[in-house]
């Protein structure tokens, strides 16, 4: 009688967990502990085929260190440049912070849902960002500027801890010229600051929009987004017109690891961009 012998798996190139090497083309310091890394895939075919939508993210991997979910912060109209603005907060992001131009990182993606930029033609957009939350909204700004006449008013309400923590500071002038109304606030001013001081949701008091014709897209700390939603709803903007980008622990980004669950939602594949009407019962629930 023959005995059953275990067989070796053939290697699988279809495994969604496999990283694809990409070279760091440039590193730009944005603020203390935050830099933007521009990447290009080593494989020219992968570089040519890569497309993403505003709000999607990649998993960035360092061998032996780990992997982190990072939003793509560059222009979807130029997908060959893949920028990721990263705050050095944990062990993996700090290790990325030690890399130099020419070093290689692993990339998987793009993953997740995107901001409803394509369904927003003719509407006013209110983009509300706190701190690093501006990074996933930058692709929206750049996409909108490419076809500015497609939209009504486009407002960016922007908050940072201090003036020195403002991301993409030198671009803000260009955004204003490109037809974006930018309002900025800081939590803590320095002696040169002449703008608003206070939390981001307060910027709603400086603007006036038609609630029926306006979409709100917000990304920042959850507590900030809660009050942004509060201000939006108080101005009779419907729940269905409010979109948030959420963050949770992620190990796989493809719905297998279970870590990013938020009620019925997998933040990795149903999110990170979610319509507020869909998540309202769970949003802001303590320890949920």
């Amino acid at each position: 009688m023959s005995i059953a012998m275990p067989t070796l798996d053939p290697p699988s190139a279809q495994d969604p967990m496999l990283p694809h090497p990409a070279v760091i083309e440039s590193i730009k310091s944005e603020a203390y502990g935050i830099s933007t890394f521009s990447l290009t895939f080593v494989d020219p075919a992968e570089a040519a085929a890569f497309r993403f939508s505003p709000g999607q993210f990649n998993m960035l991997y360092l061998p032996g260190m780990g992997e982190v979910a990072i939003s793509i912060s560059s222009d979807p109209g130029e997908p060959q440049v893949l920028a990721h603005t990263i705050r050095f907060a944990g062990s993996v992001t700090r290790a990325i912070g030690r890399l130099r131009v020419g070093d290689v990182v692993g990339v998987r993606g793009p993953y997740g849902s995107s901001w409803p930029v394509d369904n927003a033609a003719g509407k006013n957009l209110v983009l509300v960002a706190g701190g690093i939350g501006l990074a996933p909204l930058r692709p929206v700004i750049l996409s909108v500027m490419r076809q500015r006449d497609q939209y009504g008013r486009v407002l960016l309400l922007l908050g940072a801890r201090t003036p020195a923590d403002l991301l993409y500071n030198e671009e803000i002038g260009r955004w204003r010229e490109g037809g974006i109304e930018v309002h900025v606030t800081v939590d803590l001013a320095d002696e040169n600051w002449k703008g608003q001081v206070g939390v981001v949701p307060q910027l709603f008091y400086r603007i006036r929009v038609d609630p029926k014709q306006t979409l709100v897209m917000t990304c920042g700390p959850e507590i900030m987004m809660r009050f942004v939603i509060y201000e939006a709803l108080a101005r009779r903007i419907p729940k269905q017109s409010v979109f948030v980008s959420m963050e949770r622990n992620m190990k796989c980004a493809v719905g297998f690891c279970g870590h990013c669950q938020f009620g019925p939602t997998f933040i990795c594949k149903n999110g990170p961009v979610l319509n507020f009407a869909a998540i309202e019962p769970f949003f802001g629930k303590e320890d949920f």
Binding site: M1, S2, I3, A4, M5, P6, T7, L8, D9, P10, P11, S12, A13, Q14, D15, P16, M17, L18, P19, H20, P21, V42, P63, G64, M65, G66, E67, R87, A89, G90, G102, D103, V104, G106, E247, R248, N249, K251, C252, V254, G255, F256, C257, G258, H259, Q261, G263, P264, F266, K269, P281, F282, K285, E286, D287, F288
Partner: protein
């Protein structure tokens, strides 16, 4: 000797000793047999070749936080309920290498892992466990992404199911509509009677494995006895769980005081998630050599009860046992339905038996229901 093979959907009777012939046929066909066997006071799953390795003459006694084996007078092969392990450890191994990376002068060589994946024949799969496998099929193979590791193991398996003829005190498959009779998804399904096996043929492959077993067509009398034996398991079932008001009940009661009360008992030990045949959460581990020129990535079972499971910069999303138990139970019984169109619970009762403090989810759901907010 019956010359031909039984057709699919037929029921036949074989002598108990003939099960060995089925085992032999499977092995000759290239299958590695995995089945229940007694090891260190528990019925565990392991590779077997002989039917004498089955827990013949053993039964189990299960209750919340309690599991003991007991010898019986009858030399039955399948007179017990689910043990601590489930088939998920073969289809979804607790530790699996994903890939390795070798760095040379800045160039990366990403090498997908090559893991051992035998063609398994699962011997003695219960109805609830067939449902659990079907649930994991949805999780790993039916979505936008497909887990190639699971798919490769799942593809060629052979399933010899066993219809339960008794139930443990922790079983509630009738409530979850998964048992005690296997409805499908098997190649062969056995009902053990005192002096023979009644075997249902579920597939061509199943029929093929009955070659040279001296099978006889089952008579109405045999079928009646088999059906009665299964009814006994159903009659014996002590636990039940109402499901008609789920998932709403849990979603509406996320702030119920019962969660605080459970948190005073729950140790957050992760046992329930490890024994659960459907829990699928994993984490990843990274290892490198000392110069970081080579590294490996490994996938390991994780649990929503682990403190760092929900860690993001700034802290853990679910820092309390209350929030972690609530996450587990609402996922299992409520959000699982939204995610995969089916409950994550099959009623096998493992989480009740293997909870070191005997927390019983059927009781907890009932306690929430009795003082529900809505």
């Amino acid at each position: 000797m019956t010359p031909s093979l039984p057709r699919v959907a037929a029921s036949v009777v074989i002598a108990k000793a003939s099960l060995q012939k089925v085992f032999d046929n499977l092995r000759v066909s290239g299958f590695s047999l995995v089945g229940p066997t007694v090891h260190e006071g528990a019925i565990v799953l392991d590779e077997i070749t002989q039917m004498s390795e089955l827990p013949v003459g053993w039964t189990d006694q299960q209750s919340p936080g309690h599991y003991r084996l007991k010898q019986t007078r009858e030399p039955h092969y399948f007179a017990y309920s689910c043990g601590p392990q489930s088939w998920k450890q073969y289809l979804f191994p607790s530790r699996l290498s994903l890939f390795s990376v070798e760095k040379e002068n800045g160039d990366w060589r990403v090498q997908p892992a090559r893991n051992l994946s035998p063609r398994y024949a699962f011997i003695g799969v219960r109805a609830c466990e067939l449902s659990a496998i079907a649930i994991q099929d949805r999780v790993f193979m039916a979505g936008e992404f497909r887990d190639p590791h699971y798919a490769r193991r799942r593809g060629p398996i052979f399933i010899l199911a066993v219809h339960c003829t008794q139930s443990a005190s922790t079983c509630f498959c009738v409530s979850m509509k998964t048992g005690p009779r296997a409805a499908g998804g098997f190649d062969l399904a056995v009902t053990e009677l005192p002096d023979n096996f009644v075997v249902e043929v579920g597939s061509e492959a199943g029929s093929e494995m009955l070659r040279d077993t001296a099978w006889e067509p089952a008579t109405a009398f045999d079928l009646g006895r088999a059906s009665q034996a299964c009814s006994r398991a159903e009659r014996e079932m002590q636990r039940q769980m109402r499901t008609d008001d789920l998932p709403r009940l849990l979603y509406d009661n996320l702030e119920h005081p019962r969660w605080d009360e459970i948190a005073t008992r729950c140790l957050s030990c992760t046992n329930c998630t490890q024994v659960c045949p459907t829990c699928f959460c994993v984490t990843v581990e990274d290892h490198s050599n000392l110069t970081a020129s080579a590294a490996e990535r490994t996938r390991v079972w994780d649990s929503c009860f682990a403190l760092d499971f929900s860690h993001v910069h700034g802290g853990n999303i679910r820092p309390t046992i209350r929030s972690r138990y609530r996450q587990w139970l609402t996922h299992k019984l409520a959000s699982w339905i939204d995610q995969f169109g089916v409950s994550g619970c099959v009623g096998c009762g493992r989480c009740i038996t293997w909870c070191p403090v005997g927390i019983d989810l059927t009781e907890e759901v009932q306690a929430i229901r009795e003082k529900a907010f809505k």
